[in-house]
Subunit: 394 residues, 2 copies
């Protein structure tokens, strides 16, 4: 059966990662390819109790249709946390609940982007955002991400083109693990002031800091014309699909209109379970457990890299989040390395899909949150050997 | 704060119904305006137990990211029901779970519609579909719905324009309550054969039949190039946001790509709770309870209409679903009637938003599922008086 699809479907690749995950179903493969939180840390018992309570005792509301903006007490909980921890001047009204923060990416592009409009993306950048935005046929300007944030000269050139949107993952970026310094946050905010560009700051990993000092979101330095995205996927559980977006009234009004048309509202059941759990449990205590675990896993990966990776390969040193980013010498192909690695029963995500031009990259993403330290060490040993063999073969 | 929004945002009205629902927050207003299932029928206890079980006993999977296509056993359950009851040749692979069937409307337009492409809509038609489709800047061709289905001459003219999509609610339509006869289903299927038009059949209410004979979906008569949408919102509970779409592999592949970009996947928690509840309970027994209740409520509304409505006003006689549709004489304005009715503490949805041109309509939608029979009778008495006063004033 063939159909006449819309033009936009030609510009959107299927998720490369999901295709790779199929290859890694083999249980003997050690996979650094995923981006899943560690399920051993899910607070299942407490969430089960929260679920039972909200459905049994408040079924009439929990099971019914609800407002597009989201469950008001959950929105207030999120706003209060921003006020208390980051000094952001936000109220429940400023927050719209989304079906995972992926939905916020879709909606922001939907309300802002006409075909040919410019979006500034980090390079490398978050693949889910590239997928969501590409549906709306934008042009991309890219800005390299360095150890302390974006290349400011490149950003200045990109902003001169009057882009509609600048999208950034400012803390422990997916895929690179890199974080904007406070100085870069201020500098970027200054650069954005006076422009018409909407700055969309995605911060799914900011709470997962296991080293260094906590930072305020970039939005704290430039609150106007900004969107701030958050999610419970990494600090509670992704299966609920509960994210949110902070937006000024004008943008939020349009986002609500677009969300009504997209799914009416996010699962009331998911929203109320998460809110109940937040009320009855100590989130920061839970986050501390996650950070403790991920810090140990990250350390195992870094230690193994020092021992097993060839010297020519560089690796980012993340202070939080879920990923490290390796770079092989110029001219290497992470796709070719992937083919060799799979034979040695170790997997990762080649860098290609994290670039808007889908280039054949010499970079790769390594996830450390889904294997115990011993397994990480063994996988890195295998991968290091593949890298050495591959580089020697060139 | 003002922003440069995408052109598509100019063509999409905010939900008229949601605006009206604000007016009807007053508890002394008898509202026929909503479209909510009766919460007294939600199986809260059984769903609470299902929720506790899937999270406590299977937290690792229930709380984790999952596949875009949906929870495989739930897809198999849906496919088996179609095979057994409707003789449709579908398997789990043919089904994609969506975040409510509203999401299927968004995704189908996203993958099929370029600006200016033609969509055939019923007139009146489902407002949520008008909202979703309008985002993609289509042209509309409309086909009047009569007591036994669409005006076939009008449909033939519309199909001659080579539309990308024909969208229809074939059973107990929202807003009209009308249903396609089996003869009309066959005739429409014949008319569609050989065209390139994708037929999207939305069937949220088909199971809610309290009179007459069960019917097979129109898809049974023309399986190729068809989409069939379903939902658990009306037979279990809407708060989960679990719908689905049946699609051929080519269309489904694109829908999956679009859904990945839209929200990665539908709440795993919602999907697994609903599936567990279906496994442990008798859905048909539950549906029989709903039909019994809605039949009584519908009957109360029809009886009251006979007693209190002016003779010039006609009313559809639904055999199922949640709505009746009233038509006042030509030249009457249901918006003006609404203003009068609100003063008398009774509400409904004026027909306007159910027409793609947003015309000032002489029609109105009446929902009967959210009030007890005595309240329905009182509300219809108030509304009948308003109608008489209004028509006399012209």
């Amino acid at each position: 059966m063939s159909h006449n699809f819309a033009n936009r479907m030609q510009s959107v690749p299927r998720s490369f990662i999901r295709e790779i995950l199929k290859v890694t179903q083999d249980p003997t493969v050690i996979s650094f390819a995923g981006g899943l939180p560690n399920p051993a840390l899910f607070p299942s018992e407490a969430l089960a109790e929260a679920a039972r309570t909200v459905i049994a005792d408040h079924g009439g509301e929990t099971l019914q249709y609800s407002t597009t903006e989201g469950h008001p007490p959950l929105r207030e909980w999120i706003a209060a946390r921003y006020r208390e921890r980051d000094g952001l001047d936000v109220s429940a009204d400023d927050i719209m609940i989304t079906t995972g923060s992926q939905q916020a990416l879709d909606l922001m592009a939907k309300v802002l982007i006409d075909p040919g409009d410019t979006i500034v993306m980090e390079s490398p950048g978050y693949l889910g955002a590239i997928q969501a935005f590409s549906m709306f046929e934008p042009k991309y300007e890219t800005v390299n991400v360095t150890a302390d944030g974006p290349d400011l000269d490149a950003l200045e050139r990109a902003l001169a083109k009057n882009p509609k949107l600048f999208y950034a993952v400012t803390s422990f970026q997916n895929p690179s693990g890199l974080t904007y310094s406070d100085e870069k946050r201020q500098a970027v905010a200054e650069m954005l002031k006076g422009t018409d560009t909407v700055f969309a700051e995605d911060n799914p990993y900011g709470d997962l800091r296991f080293a260094g000092e906590r930072q305020r979101p970039l939005m704290a330095y430039r609150p106007e014309k900004s969107l701030l995205l958050g999610t419970f996927s990494k600090i509670a559980a992704p299966g609920f699909r509960i994210g949110w977006v902070v937006a000024d009234p004008d943008l939020r009004h349009k986002l609500v209109t677009a969300k009504q048309a997209a799914d009416l509202h996010t699962s009331t059941v998911s929203q109320r379970i998460v809110h109940r759990w937040l009320e009855d449990n100590d989130l920061d205590e839970h986050i501390a457990k996650i950070c403790d675990c991920y810090g140990t896993q990250c350390n195992a990966m870094l230690t193994a890299a020092d021992e097993f990776f060839p010297e020519e390969v560089t690796l980012t040193r993340a202070e939080g989040g879920m990923f490290l980013w390796a770079e092989m010498p110029e001219g290497c192909s992470s796709m070719k390395l992937f083919d060799l690695a799979i034979k040695e029963k170790v997997a990762f995500v080649p860098g290609n899909p994290f670039y808007v031009d889908g280039r054949d990259a010499n970079t790769l993403r390594l996830n450390y949150t889904n294997a115990v330290p011993e397994t990480i060490t063994e996988g890195m040993k295998r991968l290091g050997k593949c890298m050495k063999d591959y580089i020697a073969s060139l």
